[in-house]
């Protein structure tokens, strides 16, 4: 559009956006900085805005040995736990929701709508409103401090089921009819036609659910008691001892960087899928 713009109007968006980017990045930059200094410098607040020289030592220490006082578990183990949890939750949610939505859209059976609502209503029952009873069930099932206990209760997903249902409803009926004429039964149709069509939706969901799984806090906090079952998000919280000078901030910050790197990486690398997944799951 032909528009007379003052210099101010032209640079304003850049000024606002650069300010935004800086504010958003600053806390992480500071964490990154802190992870390059020795304990004393950080502890006394002598840190500057330029990196120190302890980066390798700090990361090596935290990854393979852990902190001195609070949680002695090496962060490497925690990263592994987080990764397993995020992967199992993301893949589990996708698998379970995929077949549920398939049943609801492509079959007619008694109580179909009831089944749909049963899944749908779980949207209104986040972990936070049923904390202790759920904990008790997991404890009764002997699943505390196990990967199963950590992931299984989180694998049900109303949002993913709704999303697949929505997507399946856009699959032309003629495709089903053509498959039937070609002699495909429900299994072959699912495997040969529906699954390949759903790849993008699955990928977008994977990005969102991986982040969801990685960032879980309340649930692992309840379910894990042993240090070697901790996820990194729990581990880092335990490194901060509020009323105490014992916190090894340079190590905590190194852990923070390690904790946020994988999900941020996923978002930045798969930005398109991430946006698609985010926008569609909220519809």
């Amino acid at each position: 559009m032909v528009e007379r713009q003052t210099l101010f109007a032209r640079i304003l968006p850049h000024v606002v956006l650069i300010t935004g980017v800086c504010i958003v990045a600053f806390p992480v930059y500071l964490a990154l900085l802190a992870s390059t200094y020795d304990a004393a410098t950080v502890q006394t607040g002598q840190m500057t805005l330029l990196p120190g020289n302890q980066m390798l030592q700090n990361y090596e220490r935290i990854l393979f040995s852990g902190t001195n006082s609070t949680t002695r578990e090496p962060v490497g183990t925690m990263l592994m736990n987080s990764f397993i949890m995020a992967m199992v939750i993301a893949l589990g949610k996708i698998a379970i929701s995929l077949i549920s939505a398939y049943a609801i859209v492509f079959f007619r059976f008694p109580f179909r709508m009831a089944a749909f609502w049963l899944i749908f209503v779980t949207l209104m029952l986040p972990v936070e409103v049923r904390i202790y009873p759920t904990y008790k069930i997991v404890a009764d099932l002997q699943l505390l401090d196990t990967y199963t206990g950590l992931t299984l209760p989180l694998i049900a997903s109303a949002t993913a089921t709704l999303l697949f249902r929505q997507f399946f409803m856009t699959v032309p009926e003629e495709l089903v009819e053509a498959s039937k004429i070609d002699g495909a039964g429900p299994y072959k149709f699912f495997k040969d036609t529906l699954l390949p069509l759903s790849v993008t939706t699955m990928a977008a969901l994977f990005v969102i659910q991986f982040i969801y799984g990685w960032n879980q806090y309340l649930w692992p906090l309840l379910i894990t008691t042993r240090d070697n079952m901790q996820t990194i998000v729990i581990g880092i919280k335990k490194m901060i001892v509020t009323q105490d000078a014992l916190t090894e901030w340079q190590l905590a910050m190194a852990t923070a960087v390690l904790a946020l790197l994988p999900p941020v990486f996923v978002v930045v690398l798969m930005q398109k899928l991430f946006v698609k997944g985010l926008v569609e799951t909220e519809k």
Partner: protein, 293 residues
């Protein structure tokens, strides 16, 4: 809506639904039912026997000034975070929506905080504002502010609000961007021909057309503050000082952890359930309206 092309099979659909059902029943409905049941039970002082007390736990809750304080805290927290993150998200989205150089890079650089875990976000902000060694805390002190979120409830609230807002801006930014992209370009052009300068164009055309998006985001943000900020509060303040940052969800957790008042904790859970149901209902009613728009 009604499909003609279907598959037969009597047992197959149930088999397909079974895994999801098993999880949903065992880990969702059963515990939720337990919460409702427990909210009507009371243990005696020694924890030896429990008896059915009907709505007594709710009555106790309704008479508890602490609970009102928690509600107020939650309300203040929600309003501040929603207002701040919505306005920042909108401002950034409007700027990034202009046809400027590097718009894609700006977008990438603004969306990643979504991926940071709330607890990690809390730790990052705590580090900046930690009274004895935090870089920004030191700055505040040098300006004469007696900054101490570990002792001052208002400071603690400011800190959790900042951390929660920081994490939520990217989400609102993305949805506002999508909302802006959905406004037909020709409507903006018509307004330009109609002589509306950019600022006027924003307030008379773009902003009203974004209001459905804003309302949707408001609901989502409130849900976010209610439930997803648990990690931030636990890592930054642990609900303190003196319960000044204890939200309703955090109180359920604390009361239950103490273990003495399972009935009261369960009653609080049920109140939360009702709130989620209300918010979800509002959201879906709105989605229906949006379809017509």
């Amino acid at each position: 809506m009604e499909r003609r092309a279907l598959f037969g099979g009597k047992l197959l659909p149930y088999t397909l639904l079974l895994p999801q059902f098993a999880i949903v029943v065992v880990f969702f409905y059963f515990p939720a039912g337990q919460a409702v049941w427990q909210s009507m039970l009371m243990e005696d002082a020694f924890g030896i026997s429990t008896e059915f007390v009907g709505f007594e736990n709710y009555q106790i809750l309704a008479a508890d000034p602490d609970y009102y304080k928690t509600m107020l805290t939650t309300a203040v927290f929600s309003i501040l975070v929603a207002f701040l993150s919505l306005s920042c998200g909108l401002l950034l989205a409007v700027m990034a929506d202009k046809q400027i150089k590097g718009a894609t890079i700006y977008k990438t650089m603004l969306i990643w905080p979504y991926a940071v875990a709330p607890a990690v976000a809390g730790v990052l902000w705590l580090f900046m504002f930690q009274p004895s060694l935090g870089m920004l805390a030191k700055m505040l002190r040098s300006w004469g502010v007696d900054w101490n979120p570990l002792l001052n409830g208002n400071h603690a609230m400011i800190l959790v609000v900042l951390a929660a807002t920081w994490k939520q801006i990217s989400y609102n930014f993305l949805f506002f961007l999508a909302g802006l992209a959905a406004i037909p370009k020709s409507v903006i052009e018509a307004a330009a021909i109609d002589g509306a300068r950019p600022m006027r164009r924003f307030w008379t055309i773009i902003f009203p057309l974004l209001s459905p998006t804003a309302f949707f985001l408001l609901v989502i943000n409130i849900v976010y503050v209610f439930f997803d900020t648990f990690g931030i509060i636990d890592s930054v303040t642990g609900g303190g000082p003196a319960g000044n940052t204890t939200t309703m969800v955090y109180k359920v957790y604390q009361d239950g952890k103490a273990g003495s008042n399972l009935g009261g904790s369960a009653a609080q859970s049920v109140v939360l359930m009702i709130i989620v149901i209300a918010l979800t209902a509002i959201q879906f009613k709105f989605v229906e309206r949006k379809v017509q728009y």
